[in-house]
Amino acid sequence: MSPADALPWWAALPTALLLVFGGVITLVGALGLVRLKHFYQRIHGPAITITLGAGCILIASMLYFTVQQSRPVIHELLISAFILMSAPVVAMLIMRAAVYRDLRAGRLITGAEKHDAHRSGGEDRERT
């Protein structure tokens, strides 16, 4: 721990709490990735890593550097904004790829909505 000497308590305590909490949430998300049964459940695990875990650690980083450099250091907002815009796109793309592949392989999707999901998959195939 090099230059953390002069950090006051009111800044160090929230930073430490946010870091610990973010780490635990990240671990829970990855645990979900391993523990859940099939793909359509697993896709929900990393979502908590991406939103709450990353959010906590980014806020901790902002707080730490703002106090340490004694000037506002808020460029972590860029990463937050980027993640907020890109994570939904990634989730949707992976989900659609999975649904498309499962339909094409003839595997049934978990739910009863086979008919309509089938239609959406078929239309994907037409576009190809």
Partner: protein, 94 residues
């Protein structure tokens, strides 16, 4: 206990947590039965790497790590989109 010691413990704990989650992602990457599982694991791995680099930045008190984290987030997004696109169409550029 000084603030430096407190922060040090917190950062170590968070680093271990994120490293463990990277291990779990790697496990899913290896055993994942389908290709989409592997892509999901890879995406989470990118995210955990970004968090790890960000926390190393706090640990060493250096702002340069931020740039690395930003680049990792950017490259991770592009690569995941390309892989998902590839799964869907069999080609990346249509």
């Amino acid at each position: 206990m000084t603030t430096a010691a407190l922060l040090s413990v917190a950062i170590w704990f968070a680093l271990v947590c994120v490293a463990l989650s990277m291990l779990l992602c790697a496990l899913r990457l290896v055993i994942g039965p389908t290709a989409q599982d592997r892509i999901l694991a890879l995406d989470t791995l990118w995210m955990c790497t970004m968090l790890l680099v960000l926390m190393l930045g706090i640990r060493f008190g250096n702002l340069i790590y931020f740039e690395a984290a930003m680049l990792i987030a950017l490259i991770g997004f592009v690569s995941t989109v390309a892989l998902a696109k590839f799964l869907m169409r069999g080609e990346v550029i249509e």
